[in-house]
Symmetry: C3
Subunit: 348 residues, 3 copies
């Protein structure tokens, strides 16, 4: 692999920062604790400020208020974390790829493959599918009949796109993700289940990231929609006809049930669930392992569940939870009695 | 693609309904809000009855009590939702497939492939496997050695069947599903784990649907069993030696731990868990994100967890939960004191 | 398939046990309830001791205290469950495999494949990858560029290893597992998300088992680390830069958020979550569906959530949970009032 190397001044220019100290070559990026003299590092959390004095980093991205504490070179920026994010891309070589169709891939004769795209070994592109410019299709990935992938998108290895789904531009779909599987729709029929054919599709906007093992079902009649800029972590389940609004980020292990509409710029922490047919307001934040079972009309942070405790005391409290309504009644009764007693005392 | 087209009278006959109004050609199926004049639609939820007056649908499936409100044609049926389900299948072309083995698939010389089955590009059928009549095996799917797939079943792309598993007839297995992986069995051995070889298999009955990313482990000694008519949504985990009874439906993200026996015709809502070695009665309903940690002997609905609330108030209440047993003791003490005071008041 | 057959005396020797009764050939292993006369069985849970009198098993692994109750032959051992685990391996033929690269697999010219390894049909070994001695790579599995797999490890079908990840010796990775996908890292940028390139890797120690559908993300800068002897069940999500300590076992459906460090010899029951940047002490046990949202410094068992109850009473109690802080204040108030009344009573 070719070593990547940048001048600190180039990096500063890239993030509109000011280089303080002598220019030098930087060939890597690392945390303050592990950086060497050829690395760039960053301070975004004041918890780590003490490491500024000991880090070996060649240059450190800092806010102006932290600059004085840097021993060597600094690049002063408004937002060191964002600057780190931008610079990290310069050290990322995974998006480089060749062009063409690998001999061991199989492409249907009527599929359309942009000549600048790359189809990896073992991949299958089915009839009528369309692969845009500079797209990367990973090894053994399957693009179903009539599915389309927009320019500059990247499907990792072992991804599955079902027939007809549509992926925007600059998307990244990770391995074992499944897009376009049937929604879970059945009508009860005398103790059995009559399948409802899932005739809608999935439409994914631009700049969407879909994590490993995440599944997005096709709609029953209309489409399931993931709007532009949405970021989905691993092992998320999106049911049929869900709409996820622009730039919403959802962490690993969440599930959203059918026809629910999640707003824009929400954040949903890991292992949370949202039941079906709800509307979640733009700018809603859900904490980890929360069950959302009603619509949310006001943005803000929401939670459910109980907090961690030793199993022994938890067990006692959990027993009491099942008596909580009764306990509340007992307190109500006590309040009445005490008020009476109080009244009687005053009467005497 | 060939356009599908049916006379409204044909559709009425299909669902044993009565066509009210003039016959016409129908070429699609849609919701009341989005239907055009060549679509059939349906009203199954009274919440949407007001849409009957505005829908453009060519014909609408309704109960007799709603027929008067339909502006155009109606098909009167007992159960519009079930009728919609049946008619949806007429517009579903995904089950059409060719026959034979694609040139890029690999089939072991001693595997048995019915001549009416289709093996897609990149699929692998290992030694001694058996593929029944009219079966569809999707691209890059792997059928392990000695596994069998019953007639009219469909494996989507990138499915994995481990060696020896048995799939019934008319099953549908979605992408990234894994059937027959090792159960999680280890014996403690001086701080390490001694693997227990998982020597059982998985037996799946007829008419079972398995969702994308769902995993079903093989048994330790006996088999893991999914009985006929069971519907499993996406990303469900079924551990070794579980039995899921006929026509039970389980929503996305649930997990069932080892050796638990779930009854027939249960419904388990999303993200629920059932711990190991339990028995769940036929006809049990579990609400979303519930932990079932004891056997259920009476059918009915069961729940655990707490309800959604703003994070700020949740935090205060969660702190109090950890003091709930203590609070209950305090109330008990108050009851004693108040009874004493009450007694003393009467004595005076 | 060749039938496996052992003398009971051989099996006894294998587990350092004592054969009581006449030697015989054993060709299978089964539970007490299902064993035939050519099977070995075991009693590890006193719940099943009554089956000792009715089992047809040819020989039974028991503790010395149970030997008297065995009707036929017994092998007396210290730990029947551990002995069963060891003997189960003798009846397991899944680890047998041929050598070489299947004609339908694709191996990059500069990948290194040990001649004793086997690469199954449709598998893809990308540039610079390294496959150790006696490794088994399943059908349609993808080993990314530069990834390495240690001797005697086994990758099932449809596994994905991303570029650069490192798997130890004697590991077992199940189907649809994904190792090395991008961590979920984004910096907020004016309402959008700026991707942080995930430049670290994943390092997995020796004797690790990774379940079906489990996903392990690569680190942002440093590596994600799974130490030796760790056992991960199905559909677990391990985020970037997590460290899981030696011999920890994690059950299905758990998720561990970024940079959390789980200690050695922990057990984490199914569907539990651990939030990011925490430290969990060695020897911690987490019960099912628990959310760990703070570090744990003392080993022991921990829980969160509430216990199962009928939905009707749960609903009432869940309403009261949202009033729990208020209820606690009401009890406090009552305590004050009652103390006053009590005081006044004494004053009279």
């Amino acid at each position: 692999m070719l070593e990547l190397r940048y001048l600190a001044s180039e990096l500063a220019a890239k993030v509109q920062g000011t280089l303080v100290g002598q220019d030098l070559y930087i060939s890597g990026i690392a945390t303050l604790a592990t950086a060497s003299s050829s690395d760039i590092s960053f301070l975004s959390n004041s918890r780590y400020s003490s490491q500024l004095s000991s880090t070996l980093a060649g240059v450190v991205l800092v806010k102006s208020s932290d600059q004085a504490a840097v021993v060597g070179c600094a690049i002063v920026v408004d937002d060191p974390y964002l600057s780190y994010a931008k610079i990290s891309a310069l050290f990322d070589t995974t998006s480089d790829h060749g062009v063409g169709v690998h001999a061991s891939a199989w492409v249907a004769s009527d599929a359309s493959i942009d000549p600048s795209a790359y189809i990896s070994p073992g991949a299958v592109i089915e009839a009528g599918a369309s692969i845009g410019a500079r797209v990367f299709v990973g090894s053994n990935t399957v693009v179903g009949a009539g599915a389309s992938v927009g320019a500059d998108s990247r499907l990792a290895a072992n991804v599955t796109l079902y027939p007809g789904v549509s992926i925007g531009q600059r998307c990244l779909i990770h391995s074992a993700a499944v897009i376009g599987s049937d929604g879970f729709g059945f009508a009860p029929n005398k103790g059995r289940w009559q399948k409802i054919s899932q005739l809608g599709s999935v439409v994914i906007g631009d700049n969407v990231e879909v994590g490993a093992g995440t599944t997005i079902d096709r709609g029953a009649l209309n489409d399931t929609v993931i709007e532009q800029g949405v970021k989905l972590d691993n092992q998320i389940q999106i049911a049929h006809n869900v709409v996820v609004g622009e730039n919403t980020a959802i962490a690993g292990g969440c599930a959203i049930a059918g026809s629910t509409k999640v707003g824009k710029q929400c954040t949903i922490a890991g292992m949370s669930g949202i039941t079906g047919h709800l509307e979640i307001a733009d700018g809603t934040h859900i904490t980890a392992m929360t069950l959302v079972s009603r619509s949310i009309t006001e943005p803000g942070a929401y939670s459910s569940g109980t907090a961690l405790e030793p199993h022994r005391s938890w067990k006692r409290n959990a027993v009491r939870f099942r008596q909580l309504d009764e306990l509340t009644q007992r307190v109500k009764e006590l309040e009445k009695l005490v008020m009476q007693l109080s009244q009687e005392g005053q009467d005497k």
